[in-house]
C-alpha cells in the first residue's frame, strides 16, 4: 500500500498522462534513518544502506507528490540495483508515469523511478504497479 499524499499541490492520479515526470526530489540516507529502518525490518545491516531502504524512501518521495486515495494497492514491483550506497549519502529520485489505464472500476498506474547518487550515477531503478479506484 502506498501513502496518501498530504501535499496540497499533489497531482490527481486520474489526470496523470503517460510520460508525466514528477518533480525530482532528493533525500539523505542518514545513519539514524538506516538504524530505524534496520530495526523495523529486523536486520543487523552492514556499512551500506540496504537497497530496499533506498527504494522505500524513493517510493515515498514519489508518492508524496501524488494524490492517492486510501486503499491504494501495491500490486507488483520491479527493482534493479547498480551500486552500493554508503550510509549518509544524499540521493535524488526521478519518477515518471509509464502507464495509466482505467478498466471498469479500477485504474492501473505504472510508475518508473530512478535513483542517482551525488555523482549522478544511477544507484537503482524500479517500476511500481499500483491499483486504485477508477
Amino acid at each position: 500500500m502506498l501513502d496518501k499524499a498530504k501535499n496540497k499541490d499533489a497531482v490527481a492520479y486520474e489526470e496523470l498522462s503517460v510520460g508525466y515526470e514528477f518533480p525530482a526530489t532528493s533525500y539523505e540516507l542518514s545513519s539514524s534513518l538506516v538504524t530505524k529502518y534496520l530495526e523495523a525490518v529486523d536486520n543487523s545491516g552492514n556499512n551500506f544502506v540496504p537497497p530496499l531502504a533506498v527504494a522505500a524512501r524513493a517510493m515515498t518521495a514519489m508518492t508524496q507528490s501524488l494524490s492517492l486515495p486510501p486503499g491504494t494497492i501495491h500490486a507488483s514491483q520491479d527493482f534493479e540495483f547498480f551500486k552500493l550506497v554508503p550510509i549518509g549519502s544524499v540521493v535524488s529520485c526521478q519518477a515518471k508515469v509509464v502507464r495509466n489505464l482505467a478498466r471498469g472500476q479500477m485504474r492501473m498506474l505504472v510508475l518508473e523511478l530512478n535513483v542517482f547518487d551525488q555523482k549522478e550515477q544511477k544507484v537503482q531503478s524500479g517500476k511500481a504497479t499500483i491499483i486504485l479506484p477508477a
Partner: protein
Amino acid sequence: MLAEIYQGKTLTPVVKHITQEKINLYAEASGDFNPIHVDESFAAETPLGGTIAHGMLILAYVSEMMEQAFGQSWARSGKLSVRFRMPARPGDTVTATGNIASVREEGDISYVNCRLECHNQKDEVIVTGEGSTELAHSQGGTRGSR
C-alpha cells in the same frame, strides 16, 4: 554467503514475525503513513478489516535472504521482480524462501536467477517473483545443474 551455487539449491529462508509496532516503525523509516498500515480504527472499516504490513516491508525480508546468499553482489547488481498476492498482517509469521532456478556463466561472471516466494504461517502465498544477480567466481564456487 552460499558456499556453492547450483541449480536447485535452496536459499536459507528468512523468518520474521510481523507486529503493529514493527509496521509503525517501518512507516517512520520509510515515510509511508498510509492509514491502512498504521491506523487500526481506519483499517478496521475497510474491506481488509484491519491494518496490513507495507509490501515493501515484506520485500525487505526477500532482500535480506538474497544478501545472505549472494553478499554485496545483490546490492550491486541485483534484480527483483515480484507480485503482491495478499497482505501480511500483524501477528503473521512471514517466511521468505527461494531456490536457484538457473545459473549461467559468462567468462568470470555467473548470472544466478532465483525463484522467490513469501508465505505466512498458514502457508498462504503473500509474494511471488524472481530475483537475479551477478556473481564474480571469486565470491563462491559454482557448478553446473544437478
